[in-house]
Symmetry: C2
Subunit: 598 residues, 2 copies
């Protein structure tokens, strides 16, 4: 089937079929370009490329090379040494303006020719050939394929580069360029004559959109701080004297070239490239501008577009009293928990946490001022450094008022800088274990030691509701089993082997999710049971249960259950009824949880 | 307890205690400002304000009024009429530069004085007083409180405004201003003398960050398209000749004023304001710049900061064959479904869908090329227009290859433009109903009419596994009940009244979630049952069940169950065992679903 995105792009191109403007004439080789050629390419940050028209036809990169050579200069020399030679201020002038700072001679930015020649001169290398080899490899790294110099364009351009030659000599006069300015000019002219196609340019732009990682080869080309700098300069200076119009109307950092190409970058989303050789009065592809404006307005591709409000970062917050525990608690514990459980709060965060989201989460906690906090970050997709710092700052503030915080974080999105020290916070892989810790914490804070784990077994719903007679029969048939740590107790696909009630230690149940990945379902602690769910799946064990620590269980085996069912119908009836009730309890809890949070 | 955000802001301020720069001297009243005053305010897009220092002390707004008056001009006159009078190009010049386009006299942008005087002149009104009244009300609307003119600053500034007077007369010469330029100058000087504090400015900035809606009063002040324009101009021109440095180092649209204020906007996240009267050589608060740079780098508050990659938009995708249905199916249907169910796919989307996320989702579908698609958008937080267009485009493409698409969308985030017509797609409030439709669609596509709903009852696990004897006893005791549409069958808190198997029609179960909201748990169709979960919650009905259409159920009442249990232990045993198995099946499915998708 056709992709609707492909359709959408084709319809936009069709609606922007302008034939205004003239092909560049100041370089003889460019003047020969077919004015009707057109190519569009859109590359995603995971490396998929959509194309319309002649996106594979090559042309010389021209000024679109500028942000990339500037990036290489930054990577080679660092911020400071580059800033000494070239500034980052928009000049509001045309691409070929000879515009240098009055005392220092420093070009205002690396997007006009004077700044670009300077940036090229900052590329490390022993000779012009060596430097150009590095530039070619660099551009090829962004494009994801080996690129070549278009010798004809190079020769044609070098012999007519009078204005750029004047600029180079002026830069030499101010000691912005060192040694022979002709060599630097030569390097710059070669850089502009590198042959690319529209698809290449889109992937190069997508590399910047992807924070500096080439989306196809997955190679990191540029550090994020340099990417931010390059995109900033493209935003303010990339479109020369039309930069303001561009950023208002299109709202993406961009760069145009006199051969008819334009690239535009929407950080985190896409890289876009258009090619159409007819130029407007600014020396920029007329149809290219039209297509970009149209895409920006139709596709909300504007940097200043305000998306979601940040206050959706807290997916839910609720007191401990509203968590149905997997296990039952002795009544004395339960009444202490009931009384104080509103002072223990669970905060479930989700989505991409930038500053604003973390701030909102932290504000909720500060407003509630609970004694015990569970921060559940399992559904957080991505967390910015500032969000981490803010959440860890919350922990510090909680400690100052003698409150405690645990984190549910199986993926490690919020690493504990104090891990392994006395200052470390309790971290859990699942909410059940965190709730168990939280209950213990509440009980301790109110002078109760948590009940001995062995006695929890008696509170298991399977046993608790039996009559004395039935309980005696069941007790008699239950066997105590011991397993060492990290051993499989039940394996996916096993037949039903019985109900296992945990007396001591812990076990985890894992399943295969719908994509075939192993997912930890739950951690089970004393007082909970496993194995009985196989009764709902035609007697086939549907999870793998593995011990976390040494494990002691009481098992009512399948044989024992069959024996009771066959020989003692009245006890069997009680047992099955208890099992049905327990199962409905688990089902109810799980359905509720998947409905409200799923 | 203290907020860690408050802490964080205070520590940043402490680290940026620079005392460089001089208080503005060109206006006598400003020269008297206490150079050591300092205020910081950060306002979130939901209206919370953090402050450090003297954030409530007032000063004259000066040039920070410019983006807001420009916004009012846009709201009054529209893009085109404003653009005729003032451009949006960075001039790279100081704030007081007399810099007009050579032929037209049009100021390059509304952030330098010439452009700002022009923008003020475009505010609608009958007189200068009327216009200024509107400006004052407008600024107050952004700040969320009534603002006042500082008469002393106004008088002081008006008598010394020689340069601005020259600019105004020059603008009159070019017919950019009409009538008396002194009146326009007067309006501009009054606008600059409006008294604000740092907190006001942060909320004004947050209104821009919030897409034009004042976060405290929740009043829409400005249309999103104008907000994008204002922010674009602030990004390129707001910091005058230091705009490039600012956008590289800080990366937020911003505006400074000569009295020592700075505002900065991070779209979708926060509005920031700093006040410190000592100015650098650009006429901008020196300590303000230092604080903003520090916050941007420490808090990832840079526009070009690349957050999450978009390919997390598809939370999961899986074939219909991996969905455990709530009800059982007749074997003949099941085998057709088993054979073809890989051709029916469910795509669950989540998060904020901008173009890139929607593109990624659509690409998954195009690659799979299924016959039947369920698009589950229940977990989508926010959907951009382009994402909607892309997903609806997918539907069109699917139709072209004779494939079908249903949408699970209880919140209406993806409205069907064809709703009510023959072209409408099936929309569902829950996945179960969509799966039911999907199964019917697969069966129809392979020449099978879905089984008569009445026969589905016999496939219910409660009945299917019973022996003939037991089945006879149960059948005898089951009663057929009828309910009209939109009637409550079971109410939250009712006692256990029996197991209800649906024969015809549909019902929904709702619960209160942890925040007390009513949440639709599930829609139940023929072959599914309700009421039995109360057995797991001490016999108390934990959901409210309401009919959607006319409903026919077979009920095995609580009395009937008690009667069987008391009088026929062997049948009761079978019955309870069947119930336990069914409950474990439901529990297993729900646990799995909440683990893999929860």
């Amino acid at each position: 089937m056709r992709s609707p995105v492909q359709n959408y792009l084709e319809s936009i191109v069709e609606q922007c079929s302008g034939t205004e403007g003239e092909v560049a004439s100041y370089i003889p080789e460019l003047a020969q370009a077919d004015p009707d050629r057109f190519g569009l390419a859109l590359a995603t940050v995971d490396g998929h490329v959509y194309t319309v028209g002649q996106a594979e036809t090559c042309f010389s990169i021209q000024s679109i090379s500028k942000p990339f050579t500037y990036a290489l200069a930054l990577a080679d020399q660092g911020f400071e040494r580059v800033a000494e030679k070239v500034d980052v201020e928009p000049s509001g002038e045309a691409f070929n303006e000879i515009s240098l700072a009055s005392r220092t001679g420093r070009p205002p930015n690396p997007m006009i020719n004077a700044g670009a020649i300077t940036a090229a001169s900052l590329v490390a290398g022993d000779s012009t050939d060596h430097r150009f080899g590095r530039v070619l490899e660099w551009l090829g790294g962004f494009a994801g394929r080996e690129l070549e110099l278009d010798e004809k364009v190079y020769t044609s351009e070098l012999t007519t580069a009078h204005r750029n030659r004047a600029i180079a000599h002026m830069l030499r006069e101010f000691d912005i360029l060192h040694d022979d300015p002709e060599e630097k000019l030569d390097l710059y002219v070669r850089q502009c004559a590198v042959s690319v196609n529209t698809r290449d340019l889109a992937i190069m732009a997508a590399t910047l959109a992807n924070g500096g990682v080439q989306p196809v080869t997955e190679k990191r080309m540029l550090e994020p701080a340099y990417v931010e700098r390059v995109l900033s300069v493209m935003a303010t200076c990339g479109m020369y004297d039309a930069a303001g119009d561009w950023i208002s109307a299109v709202g993406m950092p961009a760069k145009s070239g006199v051969s008819g190409g334009i690239i535009a970058v929407l950080p985190g989303q896409v890289g876009l490239a258009v090619f159409s050789p007819r130029l407007d009065s600014h020396g920029t592809s007329a149809r290219g501008v039209q297509v970009c404006e149209r895409m920006s307005s139709d596709m909300d591709m504007h940097l200043m577009h305000v998306g979601r409000m940040s206050n959706t970062a807290v997916r839910s917050r609720y007191p401990l009293s509203q968590v149905s525990p997997r296990r039952s608690r002795p009544e004395a514990d339960q009444s202490v928990l009931d009384e104080h459980a509103e002072r223990a709060m669970v905060y479930e965060l989700h989505g991409d946490l930038l500053f604003a989201g973390a701030e909102h989460a932290v504000r909720s906690v500060v407003d509630d001022a609970p004694d015990v906090v569970i921060l559940d970050v399992r559904k957080v997709d991505d967390m910015a450094d500032v969000a981490r710092a803010t959440l860890l700052g919350l922990r510090t503030m909680l400690r100052e008022v003698d409150a405690a915080m645990a984190v549910v974080d199986p993926q490690g999105v919020l690493p504990d800088p104090d891990a392994g020290t006395e200052q470390a916070s309790p971290y859990f892989d699942d909410l059940d274990s965190a709730v168990r810790w939280c209950e213990g914490e509440v009980l301790r804070r109110h002078g109760r030691e948590p009940t001995d784990e062995r006695t929890l077994v008696n509170e298991h719903p399977l046993l608790r509701d039996l009559s004395d007679t039935a309980r005696e029969v069941v007790d008699e048939l239950m066997e105590e089993l011991h397993f060492p740590a990290d051993e499989v107790v039940l394996e996916l696909g096993d037949g039903f082997s019985g109900v296992h009630v945990i007396v001591e230690g812990a076990a985890i149940a894992t399943i295969q999710d719908r994509s075939g990945r192993t997912v930890r379902l739950v951690t089970m602690n004393p007082g909970t049971s496993f194995g009985e769910l196989a009764l709902g799946t035609n007697g086939v064990q549907d999870t793998t249960v593995r011990t976390v620590s040494d494990l002691t269980v009481l098992r009512l085996s399948a044989e024992a259950i069959n024996k009771i069912t066959a020989e003692q119908p009245q006890v069997a009836l009680e047992m099955w009824r208890a099992m049905a009730r327990d199962a409905y309890r688990v089902a109810e809890r799980a359905l509720r949880s998947s409905a409200t949070f799923g």
